[in-house]
Symmetry: C2
Subunit: 159 residues, 2 copies
C-alpha cells in the first residue's frame, strides 16, 4: 500500500496522531468519555453505534493507551473504561475540533461549553505554553530541532 | 449504512468536523499549506502521495471551502491552492493534533514550533476565549444552549 509506506517515510507526528484519532467514532467515543460516560451500554445508548464497531473502537483505544479498563463487577465480570494520562491529553484535540465544528459546520449546536473559572460560555483559542499569548499563523514559524537532526544523522552514519 | 445514519441522528458538531479532517492525508496536506506549500507538484514532492489521492483530497478541500484555487499561469492553465477563512481556522486543530502527537507519538520530532512574539520553542495549550485562562477537564462543563433547544422544539411542534 503505497500511501501507508510514504507516510511511514514521512515519519511525522501529525500522521501518527491522525492514525489514532482520525476515525469518526473514536473522537465521538472520547467526547462521551470526557462527559463522564464509562460503560459499554451507556456509550451504545448515547451514540447509537453498532456493538461490533463500539467494541472494536474501545479495544483499539485501550491498545493505544488512551483508555484503561477497571472492573466494577465480579459476577458476571464487567469493566468500565477510564482515561489514561495520554487519553486526558486528547481533550485539547477535542476542544479544537469542537470549536472548528461549532463555528463552521453547524451554527445551531445545542451544547455550550462553560469555563467555570470565569463563568463564561466559551470556546478554546490556542495559547503559547510559554507566554500565554495567542498562537496564530502570523506569529509562528517552524524550525528544525538541530540536536535531533544531528543525532539522527550520526546514527545513520554508524549503520 | 447504519453507522452513518446514527451519526446524522446525533447531529453533533464534532462528527461534522471529523468527517472533514479525519482523513490522514487531509491534515497532512493542511500542514503543508500552513507551511507555505501551494502547488500540486510541491505537495506531491513533499508528501510522496499518489497523484490520484492528492488530486482527490485537494478537490474535497476545495469543495468543502477549506482551500480555494487561484490561477497563476495561463498557457497551459495552472492554479495553486490557498487557504480560505474556514481553512485558516483549521490551524487550531492542527496545533492540537501536533502537540498531542509530539508528546505521545514520537519524542524525537525534528521540527519545533517557535512563537515569534516571545521567541520560545512552544506548543499550544487550550485557553478560554473569554478570560485567557487554561481550559482543563476540571474547569469545564457542558450545558444545553436553551434558546437553541427551544427553537428546535418549536419548529418540530409546527410540523
Amino acid at each position: 500500500m503505497p500511501a501507508k509506506k510514504s507516510l511511514d517515510h514521512l515519519d511525522c507526528v501529525v500522521a501518527g496522531t491522525i492514525d489514532l484519532v482520525g476515525d469518526r467514532w473514536t473522537l465521538l467515543i472520547m467526547r462521551d468519555v470526557f462527559f463522564g460516560v464509562r460503560r459499554f451500554d451507556d456509550f451504545q445508548n448515547d451514540l447509537q453505534i453498532s456493538r461490533n464497531i463500539l467494541s472494536d473502537r474501545l479495544q483499539r483505544l485501550v491498545e493505544n493507551g488512551i483508555l484503561r479498563t477497571v472492573p466494577y463487577q465480579d459476577n458476571p465480570p464487567r469493566h468500565e473504561y477510564r482515561l489514561t494520562d495520554k487519553g486526558r491529553d486528547l481533550l485539547d484535540v477535542l476542544l479544537a475540533v469542537w470549536r472548528f465544528g461549532d463555528k463552521w459546520e453547524h451554527s445551531d449546536t445545542e451544547r455550550v461549553l462553560i469555563h467555570e473559572d470565569c463563568g463564561a460560555a466559551t470556546h478554546m483559542v490556542p495559547a503559547c505554553a510559554e507566554c500565554g499569548g495567542e498562537l496564530t499563523r502570523h506569529n509562528l514559524r517552524v524550525e528544525p530541532q538541530l540536536d535531533v537532526v544531528i543525532a539522527r544523522r550520526a546514527a545513520e552514519a554508524v549503520r
